[in-house]
Homo-oligomer: 337 residues x 4
C-alpha cells in the first residue's frame, strides 16, 4: 500500500483533479477576455439552467465557503439570522465566514438527527423568537445536501422544507458541497435533488475540480448584486476562464454525476462490511464508523488514513478517485477487526 | 494578425499561463494534504525569505484584491485610515474591497504625479487631520510598485517613504501587482525594489501565473492573524498545493524576473517609437500614449487592441508573452500615425 | 463679560437645554413603558407628519451621527456609495461612522461652493464611474441643510436635486443638523426647506434639546428596518420617553423655529458688521469671517470664544440662547478691528 | 392600586429617574464644553477609580448594549469569539449588536444553572474547539453580574473565573446592567463584586439614571481605542456633560448602592412569601416564580404587572422606587394564590 493510499480516506477535499478538468483548463488558456467576460463564463447560466431545468444565474468562486456566503448574503441582511443545523459546515468549519460576508448576521442553530433539518425542528427554534427588535429575526434557512453526516434529503423532504420556508417568508439555501453525491445516491435529477430552493452552492472541488465551485441564484436578480459582492470579497479572478472551464467540464457528459457515483460506490462497498458499526446510514460518500482506539490503531498500522470522530468513532471519506481495491481492502480490514 | 493579437495590448491581467507554471500545476497533483498543509505551501516562507533576504511569512491568495486587503487588514483597525493615491487600484478598481476587509476603514486620498506618493504629499494630507475622535486617523500608507501609471519608485524614494512612515507611526504596504516589472526596470534586487515595507502583495497573475498571488508579511506574527482572516474571507482553498505550486514556479530560476523583463522590453520597444506622445515615462510594462480619436481608430483598424484612456489617450499593456514582432508592429503603427 | 460668554461663539452643539425641553423631560418621567413603546414615542410619526405635510416615520436617536447613518443605511447597501460634499460632516467629522453603519460603503466626494451640491457637480463625479463591479456605484446623495458653511439650499435648488436624484435612481438624504436654521432663513415651511427627500436627520440638539435628534423616513417601510438597525447599534434607549419628550417639545408651538430664528438673528447682527470679511453668505447661524492672527488675538483678549478656520479666518456660531448684547458686542468688536 | 402600580413589576429598565439624578442634570447645564471635554466627564476616571480601588478609564454611553459591545470590541477581533451563557443578554436581547460592533465576531454559547458560568462549563465549550483557522477561536468571556436569572457570582467564583480566563489567554468582561444589585446582595465592595475583570459595563439606567451607563476599562489603553469606536458608533453625545452628571450622581454618597438595596429589599420581601415557588434563588432584584395560567390571571386582575416566563412561570422585577407597600401587596397576593 503506497503512501498515497494511506491518506485515501481522510477527505475528498484534496482529491486529485480529474483528467477531463485538466484538459478543460489547458483548452481555456487560449482566450484572454478578463474576469467573467470570457466565452466560457458566459456559458454558465445556460449550462446550469439546462441541468436544473429552471432559469438560473451561475457564478464561479474559488471555495465552498465563499459560495455559501455569497448565496446567503443575497437574502439575509446584516441584522438578520440564518437558521442552520448546529453541526452545519457554515457554523462549525468556515472560520466565521458567514459573520464576515453577512456583516454580523447571526446563525441560529437548530437540532436534527444526522445534521438534517426538518420543518418541526426549525419551527421549534424560530417560533419562540419574539417578533421585536431585541431579537435577531430569521431571514433564511440553510440546509446541506448531502448533510455533514453524509445523509441525503429526499425530494419529499425538500418539498416540505421549501413549503415551510415559503410559509414563514424565509429564503432557502442549500450548501451543496457534496450535492453530486446526494443526487447520485437519490438517483434523481439535479432539480429533484435540489428542490425549490433559492440558492445553491454547487460543489465541484470535492468531486474532481481544482478550485472552482458554482453559486447558483434561481432568482437571477440576486446574482446582479452578488457579482458586486464577489468582486468586493476579492473573489473575482482575472483569469476567470479557468474557473468556468472547470465547472463546464464537470457538467459535460455529466462528469459531476459519474464522479459522485464512483465515490458513493466505494463508500457503499465499505459500508456493506460494517453495517453494524455505522453511526449514520451511508447516503453519500462519507462513513462514520464506530471503532475503538485500538481498532483505529490497527487500521492505521495497515496504512489506512482517516480522521477520528470523537473518542469512539472514525470518519472515512471516499472520492471520485478512490480505487475499488482500496475500498475493498478497507472493508475487509474493518470486518476483520 | 490573428484575433489573439488584436487584444494583445489590452491588459496583462488575462495573459496565458506560462508553460513552467502549467508544469508545476501538474506536478502538484500528486500530493493531497489539504489547505496549506501541503509540502509546497510549507516551502513558501523560506522561498520568499531567500528572495527578500529577510524573514517573511508568505500566504497564497487568488487575487490581488484579496492580497492587498489581507495585508492592509493586518495593520489598520476598522476605525482607522489608509493613505493611498487618489488613483490607487485599491481606491479605484477593487469594488470597495478595502471597505469590506477592513470593516469600514477609510481610504485617505493623496495626490502625486504618475500615481506616485511622496512624503510631502502624504504630509499635506495627514497633517491637517486633527488628532481627535471626530476624524479618521491614518494607520498605514499604501503605495503601488510599479504605480498605476507604470512608474517605479527608486530605492532612495522607498527609503524616504519608509522613514516617513516610521516617523509617523504608520505601517507601509506595497501593492505589487506589477512588482516584478518594477524590479526588472530598476535592475535591482527584490529587497531593494521593495524597501523597508511591512507587507507586500507580490503579484504573479499578470506575470504568468494562473490564479495565485503572494501576500508577504515581513512581521510574521501578522501572518498568524491573516491566516484566520484568509479563511474567514473564503480564500483558503482546499487544494492549496496548486496555489503554492504557481508561486514556487514563479520564483524558480527567477521566472518572475524573466517574464517581467520580457514584458518591459516589449513596452520599451513601443515607447521608443512614441517618446513624444507619452503621458508618463515608461518604467514598467504600461504605456499611456497621446493618440486622438481618429488615430485610435486607425490603430484598431490594424488589429491592435487597447483601452482608451480618457478622450485623448490610450493605454497599452505588454505581458510576458507579448511577441517581439507584435511590439515592433505596434511601434511602427504608432510612428506612422 | 463672563467666562460663559467667552465660549459663546464656539459652537451651538453644547448650548444649554431650553426650559421647555427641561419641562417636557420632567413631565415624561411618569410613564414607564420601555423603549419606544411609550405614549410620547408613539406620537412622533403623527407630529412630524403634520410638520412635513406627508406621511413619515420618525425615530429618535441620541446623536446626529447616528441619525445620518441610520438614514443612509436604509438606502445604501454595503457595496454601494453615497455622494456627498468633500467637506460634508459625514465625511469630515463623524469618525468614519458611515463606514461602520453602512458596513464599508464608500463616500464619493463631490465639489461645490459653500459645501453645497448641485446636479452638475454630482454628475461630474458619478458620470465617469464605470458601470461595472470594479467600481463602487452610487446609491444615494447626501446634502446638508444648512450646509457646513452655513448656506441654505433654496426650494428650487432642492427640486432640481431631487429630480436629478430620481433620474439617476439615487436616494436623497438630508443632514439637517441645522435644518431649523435653514428653514428660518428661507422663511418657508419645513416641507419646502426639505424638498422631495427620502430621509432627513432632523436636528434638535444644536437647537435647544439635550440629546435627541429625529430620523425621518418618508417611506415608512424603511423605518421598519431602521428600528432593527437602531437596536443593533445600541441606540434603542430603554427610557425612550425622554427622547420623544425632547422632540415633541421642540415641535410644540414651533419651538424649533423660534429657537433657530433667535440664533439666525444673532448671526445676522454680527454679519451686518463685517459683510466685507465674510467667506460665505450667512444663511443660517454660522459665520466664517476673514480675520488675521493678531485680530483673532484681539478678539480673544476681549473674551470672545471661537474656532480658527484655517490660518486666515475664524468660525463664529450663534445659538438659540445667544444674547443680543453679546452678538452686538462681537459685531462691534469685529467692526473695530 | 393605580395604573402606574400595575406595571410596577414588569421591569426596572424604565423606572423613574432619581431626584438626585434630576438635580445633577440641571446643575450640569451651565457648562458648555462639548463632547467629553467638560469638567464632569473629566472626573469620571478618578471617581470610578476610587470606587474600584484600581486605575480605570470610564466612558459614558447611552445604553447597556453599547456599553457591553464597546467593551467587548476592545478585546475581541472580528474573527474571534466571545464565550457567554446561552441565555446571556448579549446573545438573546441585544438584537445582534455584538455582531455589529465586533464586525461579525461570534458568540460561543456555554451552559450553566441560573445563567451563571463556571470554569468547567466554559472549558467544556472551548476545549473541543480545534486550534485551527476553520474554527472561531475564543478571545473573551462575558459574564453577567447579577445574572439574567438574578443570581450573583460570589467573589470566590469570580476569582476562579478570572484565573481560568487568564490561564486560557481570554479577556474577561462583565455585563453589569444590575451590578449594583449584585454588590448590594453580596454586601461586598464594588471591587469584590467585580473581581479581576478587564472590562465592566456598569449599569445605572435600571438603577435610577435617565440614560447613561459607564463602560470601564481596567486597562486604560483600551479606552483610547474605545473612544474612537464610541464616536464611530454615533455614541459620542455633544452634551456629554449630562451623561457624566448622571454617572457622578449615582456614585455620589453611594446612591448606586442605596438604590440597589431598596430594589433588593423589595424583591426579598416578595421572595419570602413564595420561597417554594422560586425557580432561582433571589440574589438581586428579579424573581422567577412558578405561577400557572389562572394564577397569573388572578394576579393581573389585582393590578399587578409582570411578564410571563414561559408557560408556567412569571418574572417580577423590583426597582429603586418600588414601594414597600406594593412589594408587600404582591407578596400577599402570591401567598394567597
Amino acid at each position: 500500500m503506497t503512501s498515497q493510499t494511506a491518506a485515501a480516506f481522510l477527505s475528498d477535499n484534496a482529491a486529485p483533479v480529474h483528467p477531463r478538468v485538466w484538459q478543460a483548463l489547458r483548452d481555456a488558456d487560449d482566450s484572454d477576455a478578463p474576469y467573467d467576460g470570457d466565452a466560457l463564463s458566459r456559458r454558465l447560466d445556460e449550462a446550469f439552467g439546462v441541468l436544473f431545468q429552471r432559469e438560473v444565474a451561475a457564478l464561479w468562486v474559488a471555495t465552498g465557503t465563499a459560495a455559501n456566503c455569497l448565496a446567503l448574503a443575497a437574502t439575509v441582511p446584516p441584522h438578520g439570522g440564518v437558521v442552520c443545523h448546529r453541526e452545519a459546515h457554515i457554523e462549525v468549519d468556515e472560520g466565521g465566514a458567514p459573520g464576515f460576508f453577512l456583516h454580523g448576521a447571526k446563525l441560529l442553530l437548530a437540532e436534527g438527527e444526522g445534521a438534517l433539518l426538518t420543518p418541526s425542528a426549525i419551527a421549534a427554534l424560530v417560533d419562540p423568537i419574539r417578533d421585536d427588535v431585541h431579537q435577531v429575526q430569521p431571514h433564511a434557512i440553510s440546509i446541506t445536501q448531502a448533510s455533514e453526516y453524509g445523509r441525503s434529503y429526499r425530494p419529499s423532504e425538500l418539498s416540505e422544507l421549501a413549503a415551510f420556508a415559503r410559509s414563514r417568508g424565509l429564503a432557502l439555501h442549500m450548501d451543496g458541497a457534496r450535492f453530486a453525491n446526494a443526487a447520485a445516491f437519490l438517483r434523481c435529477s439535479a432539480a429533484e435533488a435540489a428542490g425549490d430552493i433559492d440558492t445553491l452552492a454547487f460543489g465541484c472541488i470535492k468531486n474532481g475540480a481544482m478550485g472552482a465551485e458554482a453559486v447558483l441564484f434561481f432568482d437571477p436578480c440576486q446574482a446582479d448584486v452578488a457579482r458586486y459582492r464577489r468582486k468586493r470579497a476579492g473573489h473575482l479572478q482575472s483569469k476567470g476562464r479557468f474557473m468556468a472551464a472547470q465547472l463546464l467540464a464537470m457538467l459535460e457528459s455529466d462528469l459531476w454525476l459519474a464522479n459522485a457515483r464512483a465515490a458513493n460506490a466505494a463508500a457503499a462497498e465499505i459500508a456493506s462490511a460494517c453495517a453494524d458499526r455505522l453511526l449514520h446510514p451511508v447516503e453519500a460518500n462519507e462513513l462514520f464508523v464506530r471503532v475503538g482506539v485500538s481498532e483505529r490503531e490497527a487500521l492505521r498500522a495497515q496504512g489506512f488514513g482517516f480522521y477520528d470522530w470523537g473518542a469512539e468513532a472514525a470518519r472515512f471519506v471516499t472520492a471520485w478517485n478512490t480505487r475499488e481495491e482500496d475500498a475493498r481492502a478497507l472493508a475487509a480490514a474493518i470486518a476483520a477487526l
